[in-house]
Symmetry: C2
Subunit: 210 residues, 2 copies
């Protein structure tokens, strides 16, 4: 409509923070569609409604932009988990049930799953990102899950500590769901809810005292 040649920023236009946010959002879309190597900084800029050079006013390099993107989205859902698992009132089984819910809603069902997928596919070539995610997400989540299971075992609610030794097992089906979606979603859909319910059923039966 109006813009014919030069829609320049006007008074009260967006702040640097908003600009950064816009770039990150655009970067998310472009990196997800193309992967790191095939994504063009120019496309990110275009999608954010700015010129390529402007991206470099906010990020030192394409790589820095990518790392900022991953980092900015990795953390939030972990807090929900922290809060949940601190709760000592309910049964341990319920706690696990709700932990699955958090994973499902906070990761698998949210846009965040795409970023996690990106971490998965690009991580091997970005050790810094892998390390960041390990230090800030994995190495926090594992002990939390471990503590919940250990407590359940102590209280006599759970009959085996296999899951306390390897909380990874609790998470692996979600990883599978993620990978399945990335690779096979348009060949054969996976019933993620069914999968998670079956997972929970198996876990809880396995730990049930008899």
């Amino acid at each position: 409509m109006d813009k014919s040649k030069k829609p320049r920023r006007r008074a009260g236009s967006i702040s640097p923070d908003e600009r950064v946010q816009a770039i990150l959002e655009a970067a998310c879309a472009v990196f997800l569609e193309k992967g790191f190597a095939n994504a063009r900084v120019e496309d990110v800029a275009a999608r954010a409604g700015i010129a390529k050079g402007t991206v470099y006013l906010h990020f030192a390099s394409k790589e820095a932009l990518f790392e900022a993107l991953i980092s900015s989205l990795a953390l939030p859902p972990l807090d929900g988990l922290t809060a949940l698992l601190a709760d000592e009132t309910g049964s341990s089984a319920d706690l696990l049930r709700r932990a699955i819910g958090i994973f499902k809603d906070g990761v698998l069902a949210s846009e965040r799953r795409h970023v996690l997928r990106l971490l998965l596919t690009e991580g091997p070539r970005f050790p810094a990102i892998a390390r960041f995610h390990h230090d800030h997400v994995v190495s926090r989540a594992i002990p939390m899950l471990r503590a919940v299971v250990a407590r359940g075992v102590e209280r006599g609610e759970f009959a085996t500590d296999a899951l306390a030794r390897f909380p990874h097992l609790f998470v692996s089906p979600m990883l599978l769901a993620l990978v399945w979606e990335a690779l096979f979603s348009d060949i054969e859909t996976l019933d993620v809810d069914g999968l998670m319910n079956a997972h929970l059923e198996l876990i809880l039966r396995a730990m049930e005292p008899r």
Copy 2:
């Protein structure tokens, strides 16, 4: 009966089959180290001890080379699994135990795991490869596992069919081990044997009739 063809070759030359093999091996090393996008065909050639142009005498493009690499390594271990699961004599629990062994030896502990990792990271941008793997590996393995569990349930050896509905759950810890190695191996090692034993323990406890 024998070769009607008389290949004309230079001094240090080898047969076409061996050449292709050498290229695939070199490609494996280079693609693993760099990923598809960052791998240079020239490096593959150099590693195979030939010139770049020669690669194109055997493969139409870098992409074709990559697809040939993945395809050539995906199939073998599946046959071991087929043979194993056809065996109706032992207990179903034992069958699952041995299936894990096959996965562990045939994939996780072999060089093949690297190729699987490559499939994982590059698959999203190579739908053809993802489809190939789905059609030739996944869609064969899942029904096999399903059949074993279903039989166990019918025979009264297993108390729940959750695993028959989602054989994916049986495989997901191996996927996790693979991903962990790709991302975090030099930050924190994962005890894969311990993980698989814990997995088996949980699965079997869960299905144990009581």
